[in-house]
């Protein structure tokens, strides 16, 4: 069995690296992505303000609080944070990471956390203090409100580029995996290569395993190139272990390659394969938190997001690079990605047609 898998793997690898046009494209694409990085992140991204509010929903509506006026400010997303220490700690971390621009605590004396390095944080802080002062003027007879107490969310500031990089790497893995196998299998089916192989003792699972391994080598190599290139032009954090990062991108690539093989298990035309792969990848790209945090989006969108393998790949990669998570911490995501990969590969082998 392994002899057959290795034979098909070697043939596919030769085909890949001898196809100079295709090879150039596979090497050029990451370079272009790195250049795009450098270009996009030279300026500050414009984002909607996001403010976390620690309180029960009833209190947010209450007029007793100092910041009623502030809570009515348009163009700010107010995201409720439940009153328990875990949720608050995670919200404070988000302020440090620029995922929240400000965190408002309305339990006792009003207080807020803001990241001193965040431009958005600074602007939202001014809005908050301005609203507070206005309210005091409008209600001179009432008991004077104490000004909200400022707490800097200390910690290394995280730029958008730092935050988005693990996601962009994951996106590259997704596109390279889906099209890299989907397209090739459909072409083999169309030009009769699969028909010839059908007449041999080769079994579908052996053929598909060889395709998975071949593409995995390509995806991991190009991802390593993008990572090294990005590390030369960008100063991004890498706090976890490289082994854990390699593991999670390997699991993610396996999952995406298997998805590509499942989609192309029976297709006969590249056009249909292209359409279906787009149908798979674009929702993932938009709803997996690659480019923006899913914080504060609708519950439906968040539910969709958790169903997508890319979400878990991006989450785990961020946990490792930004939070320094180890292999143990990302075991749930690893298990999920690998489990899904195995399931999809079995489904692909089951539905596979040589012609």
């Amino acid at each position: 069995m392994w002899q057959r898998i290795l034979a098909v793997l070697a043939a596919r690898n030769r085909e890949f690296y001898r196809d100079s046009a295709g090879l150039t494209w596979n090497l050029l694409m990451p370079v272009m992505m790195i250049m795009a990085f450098a270009f996009i992140f030279s300026g500050e991204p414009k984002a909607l303000f996001k403010v976390g509010v620690i309180a029960a929903p009833a209190e947010i509506d209450s007029a007793q609080t100092v910041s009623t006026g502030f809570l009515a400010t348009p163009h700010i997303d107010f995201i409720p944070v439940t009153d328990d220490s875990d949720a608050i700690a995670s919200a404070v971390t988000k302020v440090q990471r620029h995922q929240l621009d400000l965190l408002l605590d309305m339990r006792d004396g009003p207080a807020y956390w803001v990241n001193p390095d965040s431009a958005n944080g600074d602007l939202v802080e001014r809005l908050l203090l301005g609203a507070s002062a206005q309210q005091d003027q409008a209600d001179p007879d009432g008991s004077p409100h104490s000004s909200p107490q400022r707490r800097a969310a200390e910690g290394e500031a995280l730029s958008y580029a730092d935050w988005v990089l693990p996601g962009v790497l994951a996106m590259n893995v997704m596109f390279s995996s889906l099209w890299g196998v989907g397209w090739v299998v459909v072409r083999y089916r169309k030009n009769g290569v699969l028909r010839r192989l059908k007449a041999t003792p080769l079994r579908p699972i052996e053929f598909l395993s060889a395709q998975v391994l071949s593409r995995l080598i390509v995806v991991l190599s190009t991802s390593t190139l993008v990572y090294l290139g990005a590390s030369m032009i960008l100063d991004f954090p890498m706090r976890g272990s490289y082994a854990a990062l390699l593991l999670v991108y390997t699991a993610g690539a396996l999952c995406m390659i298997s998805l590509g093989l499942t989609v192309s298990a029976r297709l006969r035309t590249e056009e249909l394969a292209d359409g279906l792969l787009n149908l798979m990848s674009w929702p993932m790209l938009l709803l997996s938190g690659v480019w923006f945090s899913m914080e504060g989006t609708s519950t439906a969108a968040q539910a969709m997001s958790t169903l997508m393998p890319l979400t878990h790949l991006v989450d785990a990669a961020r946990d490792i690079m930004i939070d320094g998570a180890g292999v143990i911490d990302i075991l749930p995501q690893l298990a999920l990605l690998l489990g899904l990969a195995a399931l999809l590969l079995v489904v692909a082998a089951r539905f596979f047609r040589w012609e």
Partner: protein, 296 residues
């Protein structure tokens, strides 16, 4: 028609596609070391029949038996196939293609011998896309033989080759046969069948319309010779004798002995300048049996 000694056997094979009955109840058996030919025009159902025997397609009804048993995975180890149209993976040399296919089988033929047999030694390092038609067919045959199969399927192996390459390929097949391989081939070249096959079945519209040894089949349906002359050379008002037939622009006279025919023609004053005397061939047989030309 069951034979215990058959290597492979087709029993009442039928293949229906929506609106088309491609194969309509074919039965035959191929004996070990035999070369069996399926003959017929394009669209007769030869390739579909072959693919059902190869296990590539499943029959709508009927069954295929290999050594008396239904086809299983082990069957694939025992056969070699040369498809009519095969695409090989891009960017592989001849040698790499051979090695890849060899790795897929439990048993393999001796590589050097295979290279010598199929005359590949000079093109071993050539990209498979840069082969001539004859070189490509030799490589595809080598791939079909790479597992030292007991049974070799050749689907129109010389279609598209020039006459020289075709003759070379025939002598190659004869060498393969000399090594005891059983060969099942399809062709629409009558000469190919006469050269290579011990037994043939003529297929038309999904059915076998005649079956037997090539020479025996011809003799069964024809006398020793066919005398042909143009219709215009036949005198007006002279009736055709009962051993003659009019085909388009030619009049054919069938005879075991030629001199009496020539005497008759001279007596009635027929023009003899364009006269031809032929030995009946499979081509003639096919025309007689189906009423249409083989390559129509």
């Amino acid at each position: 028609m069951t034979s215990d000694s058959a290597l492979i056997e087709a029993r009442s094979l039928e293949k229906r596609y929506p609106g088309v009955q491609a194969v309509d109840g074919l039965s035959f058996e191929v004996l070990p070391s035999q070369c069996f030919g399926l003959l017929g025009p394009n669209g007769a159902g030869k390739t579909t029949t072959m693919e059902m025997l190869e296990g590539i397609q499943t029959p709508t009804t009927g069954e295929v038996l290999f050594r008396g048993r239904p086809l299983d995975l082990a069957f694939r180890q025992s056969i070699g196939i040369q498809f009519q149209a095969t695409s090989l993976q891009d960017f592989q040399t001849v040698e790499e293609s051979l090695r890849m296919f060899a790795s897929l089988y439990a048993r393999t033929a001796d590589r050097d011998e295979l290279v010598r047999l199929c005359n590949l030694s000079e093109i071993l390092n050539r990209d498979t896309r840069k082969l001539s038609g004859g070189q490509r067919q030799r490589l595809l045959l080598a791939i079909a033989l790479v597992n030292d199969p007991d049974l070799v399927f050749l689907d129109e192996p010389t279609t598209g080759l020039d006459p020289q390459a075709r003759r070379n390929f025939w002598s190659l097949i004869k060498t393969v046969r000399a090594r005891g391989k059983t060969v099942l081939l399809t062709t629409h070249y009558m000469e190919e069948a006469e050269q290579l096959c011990d037994e043939i079945a003529i297929v038309d519209q999904g059915r076998i319309i005649a079956r037997g040894q090539p020479q025996a089949l011809v003799h069964e349906h024809f006398p020793a010779a066919i005398v042909r002359l143009p219709t215009a050379a036949w005198p007006d008002n002279e009736p055709l004798p009962d051993y003659a037939e009019r085909r388009d622009t030619v009049i054919e006279l069938y005879a075991d002995a030629v001199p009496p025919v020539l005497e008759h023609l001279e007596r009635i004053g027929a023009g003899l300048t364009a006269l031809r005397i032929d030995t009946p061939s499979l081509e003639d047989l096919f025309l007689k049996l189906t009423g249409h030309s083989l390559r129509a």
